[in-house]
Symmetry: C2
Subunit: 136 residues, 2 copies
Amino acid sequence: MSTEDYRLAYLLKRAFYGLSELTEAALAPLGIDGREFAVLHVLGKQQPLSQQDSARQLKVDRTTMVALVDGLEEKRLVARHPDPADRRRNIVELTMSGRETLQAATKAADEAEGRFLDPLSESDVEKLRAVLRELL
Amino acid sequence: MSTEDYRLAYLLKRAFYGLSELTEAALAPLGIDGREFAVLHVLGKQQPLSQQDSARQLKVDRTTMVALVDGLEEKRLVARHPDPADRRRNIVELTMSGRETLQAATKAADEAEGRFLDPLSESDVEKLRAVLRELL
DNA sequence: TATTGTTATACTCTATAACTATA
DNA sequence: TATAGTTATAGAGTATAACAATA
């Protein structure tokens, strides 16, 4: 029952990495990792997006996005094609298989999240989400 | 006011990185970064510690710890000496300057944390800490 | 001139394997 | 044999700079 003055940054880091580990393990059988899931998730919410717009939403560099989309395209989960309205841009869209994988991945990630949040009451979970959203 | 279904992992990551950025900036004038502060903090709570024990508490690899202690020793914030009871071990201790830096760094990090948590009420802050501790 | 995507490159952080010295 | 610290090395993940195509 010690007061154990953990730094907040330490608590947040441990929580993030703890959840990430569970999520990565849950996604592995689907052949994707957490970063790829994040891309699919963003595209699932708002399609179509250019690579640059996707990168902005994920807060990653556009050069990072190239490699990320390369990987997903190789797996046939997304497709690129030039934007007719501005041919400098690549439109990135989920394929049929990408939509299916997104759905399965969302279920797997939700289950991992559920296990991670198991020690908390429903109201604590809601409170945690609300407080974290407030901090954005 | 949209429901904006952010993934929990995304919220935790953003919170962690947001706080980290503020903390790194607050520590920079003291000549240390967040990881070095974490080492000083652990040593401040429980001294003396071997390198390996410090590494375990910080959940980093012992090879990572070598470089970390190298840096802090160069800055004369910690000192290493062999444990007389077991000469394979290095005892790591804060120097006088290390204690002073730890004190100043704690103040700076607390202020950064305060700014980060500014949008929350006192009770929300306590709740956040409690819930995160519960998740460990 | 500015922007998008791309490539090559470099940097940071971390971990693995092999070595040494001690136990 | 096993452990603590060290070193060399390699692997993620990310960012910077430079270039081609397009606006």
